[in-house]
Amino acid sequence: MEDIERQIECWRRSLPASLAERPDVIDELEGHLRDELARLVAGGVAADEAWAKAVERLGTPDALAAEFAKVPPARWLPGTVVSAVFLVAGLVGGLIASRVWRGQDGILATHILTVTWGYLAALAAGALAVWAVAEGAYRGDGRREMEAFRRTAGGLAWASLSMTAVGVVLGAVWASGRLGRAWDWDPREVGGLGVLLSAGVSVVLVRLNARAGKAAAIAGSTAAVLAWFVPPLLETGGASGIGLGVVLGAVVGGQLVVMALALAHPRAWGMADLA
């Protein structure tokens, strides 16, 4: 039996790269091989011979990989909806901005537009993660939904990182020309830096691990909410400032709760990470 375990290990390692990066598929095929092996051995075939037969019947790794490559990626409705809303909002925002700021300071206008896109992308990735956590807690995570989440949230985190980076740099360029300094650690600048950093962390974590990716995406959206609304809150002050502060606190509190759930709820961890 030890021999068989070694052969299974060899077989797993012999698979082409396109299959090797899909452990769920390999686990499923391995399960099949084990079932077939058990059937043949029960029928009186020697273990070694049974293994060779089972592997042969399964088909060549290259042929299998080619067939799996043809399977279309999973559709995950929330991912499609959130991406579509983000793209439409970005386009409409861009059109409106180009009309509003026509003839005005181009650098400032582009800075505002790219930062808005970057923050929106962070919010969209966070919304997607909240949805994924809720769905996972409700019915357990499906592998394919998880893959779809990682693909979509990864793309949004990338968009957030690149757009915010351009926006922050343009902001610094504008500030150095207009205000005589590029960077002054004011709340807006700190906010932009926070979104930038959290987007970078999200890009990495979403790729590494679905559970950490969800938490990072939610943290990224919290950074965007704070970056967006804390500076005006500080400027407002007074009674309306308190009202805004309460709303902001509630939103951020909610995000933190879901983030904790993403990290702690065992069913929201997903099979991907338990395997």
Binding site: V25, E28, L29, G31, G59, R143, R144, M271
Partner: protein, 128 residues
């Protein structure tokens, strides 16, 4: 008998959906069912079942979940979804038409309908 690749591609999906119509199942059990149904006459390359299952899942026809096998190992189970049931109804209609035509030409092929009535062909009936 090794069946033509195109023919396998055409009937694999309705075959799997029909097997899942009886309830949740997993890859190896589905293949065993195919072996039994064909009396060993049809040889599939075992592994090719799985991309078909994954495609059915991507199309929203079946849902999958990881459960535990009797051995305690992880095993992936598939179940028919409402969309899969609809697709199967549609496929059954198409296959009925195809089998009826071939049956008339070749003779002897019948399709037993759910009401137990035989259609097409005639003469000594060989059930498909």
């Amino acid at each position: 008998m090794k069946l033509n690749k195109d023919l396998v591609a055409a009937y694999a999906a309705p075959l799997i959906l029909s097997i899942l119509e009886d309830g949740e199942s997993y890859g190896y059990a589905i293949l065993e069912r195919v072996r039994t149904l064909s009396g060993g006459a049809v040889e599939w390359t075992d592994g090719m079942l799985y991309p078909v299952l994954h495609r059915l899942e991507a199309n929203g026809y079946v849902a999958s979940r990881w459960g535990a096998a009797e051995s305690g190992r992880r095993r992936k189970y598939y179940a028919l979804k409402a969309a899969g049931r609809e697709a199967l109804t549609d496929q059954k209609e198409q296959w009925r038409v195809a089998v009826k035509m071939l049956g008339q030409l070749w003779g002897g092929l019948t399709w037993k309908t759910s009401s137990g009535r035989s259609s097409a062909g005639g003469g000594a009936s060989r059930r498909l």
